[in-house]
Symmetry: C2
Amino acid sequence: MPRAGLAPAAVIEAGAALADEVGLDNLTMGLLAERVGVRTPSLYKHVESLGALRRGIGMRAKTEFAVALARAAVGQSGPAAVHAFADAYRAWALEHPGRYAATLRAPEAGDEEDRKVSDESIRILFDVLAGFGLPEDRAVDAARALRSSLHGFASLEAAGAFGLDRDVSESYRFLVATLIAGFEVRT
Amino acid sequence: MPRAGLAPAAVIEAGAALADEVGLDNLTMGLLAERVGVRTPSLYKHVESLGALRRGIGMRAKTEFAVALARAAVGQSGPAAVHAFADAYRAWALEHPGRYAATLRAPEAGDEEDRKVSDESIRILFDVLAGFGLPEDRAVDAARALRSSLHGFASLEAAGAFGLDRDVSESYRFLVATLIAGFEVRT
DNA sequence: CTTCCTGGCTAATCGAGTTAGCTTTTAGCT
DNA sequence: AGCTAAAAGCTAACTCGATTAGCCAGGAAG
C-alpha cells in the first residue's frame, strides 16, 4: 500500500484546519484520520494521543495568532496600534474558530514550551500598550482589560450571541475606542 | 431495594452542583449516577440524555444567574448599578464555574423555552444601562461591550489566565470604570 | 388483596480512543 | 543490485462512557 507521506507537522496542520471546520470539540481521531487518508490507529504513529494533538494544535495556533497580531500592529503606536491589534484579533478569531479555541487552552503545569508560546501574544499586547506610558500596575490593568474585552467579544460573536441587528463592527469599534479613552485619561 | 426518591429536578440540581466541582466538560452520567446513589442506566428514567441534562443545567443556571444579577442591581442606577451588576456577575461566575459554563450554551434553534431564560440576563443588562440615556444604537453597543468584557474577564480569570501578581479585583474595577466612563461621555 | 405504574437493576450495544502485533515500504548501506 | 531495519500502514481487540432493552420489586390506587 502506498505511503500517505505524513509527518507529525502535517497531521497537526490538518487537525487545525479540521478543527476550524467542525469545531475543536468535535475534532475526532477518526475524522482526522479520514481527512488525511489513513486508518485511525495509524495516526498514533504521528501523535501520541488526542490530548497531544490538541496541545499541538494549540501551540501552532498560538504561534500563528501571535504572528498575525504582531504583523497588524507593527509600525504603529498609541490608539492606532490598539485598533489595529484589536481588529486583527477579532478577524483572526472569527476566521479560525477551531484554532482560536485551541489558543485558549492553558498550558499544563510545567509545560514550559507551551507557556513560552502562550506568552507571545501577551508580550505583543504589552508592547502595543507601551505607547500610553502607563505606570506599572495600570499597564497590567489595561492589558487585562483589553484582553478580556477582545476575547469576550470574539467568543460571544463566534457563538452567535449578538442577535440584534445593530452592526457588530460598530459595536466593536465602540468598545475598543472606549477602552483606549480609558487608557489615555488614567495615566 | 429502597427507592432513592429522585425527581428530574433533583437530578438536574445534583448535576449542576457536580458540574461546579468537576467542570461541565467532565460531567459524566456515571459520575452523576454515583453522586445521586444510583446505577448509571437508572438516570435515564429522569433525564433523556446527557445532552438533555446539560440543557437542563443550562436553563436552571441561566435562571439563577439572572436572579443573582437582578438582586445585585435592584434599587441602584447609573454607575453604581453597573458596578453592582459587574461585581455580581464576576462573583457568581467564579463561584459556579460549571453552571456558568452551562450558561454560555446558546439555545438550539427553535428552543423557545431556552431562548426565553437566555434573554433574561440580557434584559437586566439593558435595564442597568437604561439610566445612561443612551440612544438606541449606542445602548446596544454599550450592552455588547459590557457583556463581552465581563464575560471575557470572568472566563479568563476562571481559566487562571491572569498570572501577574497585580490584584485582580483592581483590574476588574478599572475595566468596569473605564466602560462606564465611555457610557457617560458618548451620549 | 390485587393491579399497574414507576424507578431501579443487569446485560448488552455502539462509538471513540487506544494498544498490540503483523506487514510492507523505503532510506541507507554494501 | 541486493540487504536490513526503522518507519508507517493495517487489522484485531480492549476500555470506557453513553445509551437501550428487558426484567423485577415497591408501593399507590382501587
